[in-house]
């Protein structure tokens, strides 16, 4: 059904363009219609005509086509909202013995009505200068890109209460900024506003690589209870729970036991066999921690 409607509309637009093109060619030497050079999208205006008989007015652009019947001597009123797509238009009045034309622009309303906001990335480590980018597209009420320079305010508020604010004018309808990720981990609210409209995105600022990974061991019968100190990044943020910490026990250089343990409440805890002479090491990702020799500390 949607596809059929699209084809019908496409057909209508093409037909109108062809008709208007023909009329334009035939009216190339005709008189000019009295239309303002620029009209705000969706505004109401009238077009005076000098038609001596019934005629038809075509208003054509790549995005929209209007057709109005014109009575002799009457003006054509374009109601508010009828002409809402911004762009370059051609108006043609065609009647018996009369062909008039004019070209004009429909410009977007200057008042922003909606914003499209792209905030990238949705997740990044803390302390990255210029790591967060925000791009805002400003649209009017009819979803025309507002090309007139408009001030746009970007505000990034981190979980610790720190705020970065920038105000940037749009260029051709687009405004963009780069912001730094905060030194504290947490969800940052990234707010953009233009006029009375605003949009919000969440940027997760996550801890960096673990710093100074250390574990301690305690013998419990035939087992060694192993527990890391709270694992933090170099900014002091607790590394995300669920991060895998690998404990490996080797004897004579060969692996004897391995266990991958997720961090819970900042620490990883597990147990391995207490074999004297074996060495237990700890690592997470590509970060290595300390080693413990069973039967003697290292």
């Amino acid at each position: 059904m949607k596809r059929r409607l699209t084809f019908v509309l496409l057909g209508a637009v093409l037909t109108s363009v062809i008709v208007a093109g023909g009329l334009y060619l035939s009216a190339s030497d005709g008189d000019a219609l009295q239309i303002p050079k620029a009209v705000e999208a969706g505004s109401s205006f009238s077009i005076p005509t000098r038609a001596a008989a019934k005629a038809v007015l075509y208003i054509v652009s790549p995005a929209q086509v209007l057709r109005r019947n014109v009575e002799p001597g009457e003006s054509v009123v374009i109601a508010a909202g009828d002409l809402h797509n911004a762009g370059h238009y051609l108006a043609l009045l065609s009647g018996p013995g009369t062909t008039e034309k004019a070209e004009f622009d429909v410009v977007p309303a200057s008042q922003p009505e909606s914003l499209n906001f792209l905030a990238k990335p949705s997740r990044l480590p803390v302390g990255r200068p210029g790591g967060i980018s925000g791009v805002a597209y400003v649209f009017d009420v009819y979803r025309n890109l507002v090309r007139e320079s408009t001030p746009v305010s970007f505000q990034l508020s981190d979980s610790a209460g720190g705020t970065q604010t920038r105000s940037v004018p749009t260029r051709n309808g687009v405004a963009w900024v780069k912001m730094d990720s905060a030194p504290r981990a947490g969800a940052a609210q990234f707010l953009v506003s233009a006029g009375n409209v605003s949009e919000k995105r969440v940027v997760q600022q996550v801890p960096g690589e673990p710093c100074n990974l250390r574990m301690s061991a305690q013998r419990s019968g035939q087992r060694m209870i192993l527990e890391t100190a709270p694992v933090r990044d170099c900014n002091g943020n607790p590394v995300s729970d669920g991060t895998i910490v690998s404990f490996t026990q080797t004897y004579d250089g060969r692996s004897e036991a391995t266990v991958d343990v997720p961090l819970k409440r900042d620490v990883a805890r597990t147990e391995l066999p207490a074999r004297d002479g074996s060495v237990i090491s700890v690592a997470t990702g590509v970060v290595l921690g300390n080693e413990i020799r069973v039967g003697g500390q290292r």
Partner: protein, 373 residues
């Protein structure tokens, strides 16, 4: 006339085939046939064979009835021994074949080493039992070496569950409404090797993000002129769900492309953000390399959490003395992992690599019934 001749030939050939099949039946046919076709229990090997045939047919009543030591355990224990107490690979495995190796025989007693080859959806696994066959009157009966799964005393094992849930963008969202990003993953090692006339890509993949990832690795072998020789992806030889900072090995086989044909390898890791759970934690203990003739890395899986793990996939990465990956092997535990209860595993590796392997690393991925991961 010709029609009659053809019919006669068909009848004669059919009769010959029936005769051959009856006199020299294949193992599978014996299993499917009536007990009359089974070996006689008047010999120790016949008794052991009959027992294996009944196990293969999953005829538990008949198999249990053949045992000499029925008084030591109940039929339910016998079934649990063979199929597992909890859902596991064993629950749906079939006994594909068996091998009986005589070890010792006297007038009243014989011993066999029975190798049971089970087939499951992820491949075969072996179960080796020492069978004692004893003479009861004029018949031989098998004493089944029952293997009871240990029972844990009722207890509470405290676990702080940790899981990730994901809210994805909706279908009705505007194009400006961004989705959550895919996890960042990185290939930390890659090594192509030539084996058996084919090429194998070995490597390791790290999830360097703070969220869980579902990962796959695709490899394309490129010729000198830049054309693609073959494309494959890792399927079984990878742990697909990676928690933050977790490393998985991967192996991609190209059996029909020789390494000498390959000029370059294009590796494409892909990751998707998935909901996942950080539990259970599986310890891998008592790891050791077993010597030739059947070289393998064996060990024990210990479920350190409180829930039963039904399927455990084990992946082993083998390194040489320079720390380079020389092989990646995978296997499954055929029994469910009960809390705190060791279950054996074994990962085979090629015999010619036995001298090269200097170290190894084992990881597991698990599946529990009723849990999404």
């Amino acid at each position: 006339m010709r029609g009659w001749l053809l019919a006669l030939i068909i009848v004669v050939v059919t009769a010959i085939l029936i005769t051959i099949g009856t006199l020299w039946p294949v193992q599978t046919a014996i299993a499917m046939a009536t007990p009359r076709l089974m070996s006689s229990s008047s010999s120790p090997k016949g008794a052991a064979q009959n027992l294996m045939q009944e196990i293969r047919r999953r005829n538990w009543n008949a198999a249990y009835a053949m045992l000499a030591n029925k008084s030591e355990f109940q039929q339910a224990d016998f079934i649990r021994d063979l199929t597992g107490s909890y859902t596991s690979l064993r629950s749906y495995a079939g006994l594909e074949s068996f091998d009986l190796s005589p070890e010792r025989a006297t007038a009243d007693e014989a011993k066999f080493r029975a190798t049971l080859n089970w087939s499951s959806v992820v491949g075969t696994f072996q179960d080796v039992r020492e069978l004692r066959v004893v003479k009861e009157g004029d018949r031989w009966q098998v004493e089944w070496p029952i293997n009871r799964e240990p029972k844990l005393p009722p207890q509470v094992i405290p676990v702080n569950y940790l899981r990730w849930d994901v809210i994805y963008r909706g279908a009705e969202d505007d194009w400006g409404a961004q989705d959550v990003e895919s996890p960042h993953v990185r290939i930390v090692a890659m090594h192509p090797v030539d084996r058996g006339g084919g090429t194998i890509i070995l490597g390791e993949l790290l999830n360097e993000d703070v969220v869980p990832a579902f990962v796959t690795v695709k490899a394309t072998l490129l010729a000198k002129d830049g054309s693609a020789l073959a494309t494959e992806d890792s399927f079984a030889n990878i742990s697909h769900v990676l928690l933050p900072k977790q490393v998985t090995p991967f192996r991609i086989d190209f059996p029909k492309v020789r390494l000498s044909q390959v000029d370059n390898v294009r590796i494409e890791p892909s990751s998707t953000l998935v909901a996942a759970s950080a539990d259970p934690v599986i310890g891998i203990e008592d790891q050791k390399l077993n010597p030739l003739p059947t070289p393998s890395l064996s060990g024990q899986l210990v479920n350190q959490s409180g829930q039963v793990v039904n399927i455990a996939h084990v992946l082993g990465t083998f390194y040489d003395s320079r720390g380079q990956i020389v092989w990646v092997s995978d296997g499954y535990a055929n029994r469910a992992l009960l809390p705190q209860t060791p279950v054996a595993f074994s990962l085979p590796y090629p015999a010619d690599l036995a001298g090269k392997i200097n170290n190894y690393r084992v990881v597991t991925s698990t599946f529990s019934v009723g849990r999404f991961q």
